[in-house]
Amino acid sequence: MSNSPDTTAPTSVAALGDWLIERIRFYDQVDAAAVTLDAPLSDLGLDSIYVLTLCGDIEDTYGTEIDPTFFEGRDSLGQVAVALHERLAPS
């Protein structure tokens, strides 16, 4: 991952969902077929290392710093995509 935010990165909810799925599959902690927008976050192999890695990857790609607490209370990648979309929306 580059340290420079990708300003061309798509930011629709659907695109963010696709990006999240790609990242979790890249981490390779669970079977790729299990990584879906509806799967429980707790089933995706996101231990502390990969939660922190995902925070850093979001920062690299979308230029916004995310704390690990961002994922608390989100039950699925789909919910994370919606919340991330809201975070990235221009205020």
Partner: protein
């Protein structure tokens, strides 16, 4: 005729730490690949509590995902971790405990995003001085110490890893396994015990004898 098979020969090391006003018992070993790591870890915790009579066993409490597990009753504390085939557990009575184990090849630590989120500036500088082929084990060593500490405190990732440092034990030999136990006792500074040196000795087969020699302790450095 019923076929009879022998259970796999499991190997583990077990030890005991006396803390100020408390005791911590830990076990590090290999699990049966046919069993889920989380199941093995909870079995080991229960075995430790029962075998050493630490308190009256009443089971585990139900806790939400990503929260520190706890016993159903009593003031004791426990922590579990697994990586690959390795499982590490610890039970603390009169002390809070956290554990973490990471097994080679430590591929996760290639991520520059992770390194940026887990190291202090001084730790970044130190990493640059580590030989290239030792950087992944070095990072695993730092990670296990920090992760064990935040698990002991119950803060988890709410504590920013970029804001506190642990000694990286630069002179320690590279190990394919890094394992740490953190202990928080009342009126005492945090302690992080690196278990990896114990691996130089062969792990005994089950049942697990206790205690084994303790590994060197490591102090913590807090950033303001």
């Amino acid at each position: 005729m019923t076929a009879v098979t022998s259970p796999p020969r499991l190997r583990a090391s077990e030890g005991c730490l006396q803390t100020r006003g408390g005791v911590v018992r830990w076990r590090l070993g290999l699990r049966d690949p046919a069993e889920a790591a989380s199941t093995v870890a909870r079995e080991w915790v229960e075995q430790i509590v029962r075998a050493h009579g630490l308190f009256a066993w009443t089971g585990f409490a139900a806790v939400p995902p990503f929260m520190k597990p706890r016993f159903a009753s009593g003031g004791a504390d426990f922590s579990v971790s697994h990586s690959g085939a390795f499982v590490l557990v610890a039970v603390g009575v009169g002390a809070r405990v956290g554990v973490d184990v990471e097994a080679a090849p430590f591929e996760a630590f290639r991520s520059t995003a992770l390194r940026r989120r887990m190291l202090t500036p001084a730790e970044h500088d130190r990493l640059a001085r580590v030989p290239a082929d030792a950087r992944l084990p070095h990072l695993a060593r730092v990670w296990t110490a920090k992760e064990a500490l935040v698990k002991a405190s119950g803060e988890g990732l709410r504590r920013d890893f970029r804001r506190f440092a642990v000694p990286a034990l630069l002179d320690a030999p590279v190990s394919p396994l890094e394992a740490a136990v953190a202990v928080l006792s009342r009126d005492a500074p945090p302690e992080v015990l690196r278990l990896t040196p114990l691996l130089a000795a062969p792990m005994p087969e089950a049942p697990f004898p206790t205690p084994l020699p303790a590994a060197p302790e490591a102090a913590l450095t807090e950033l303001s």
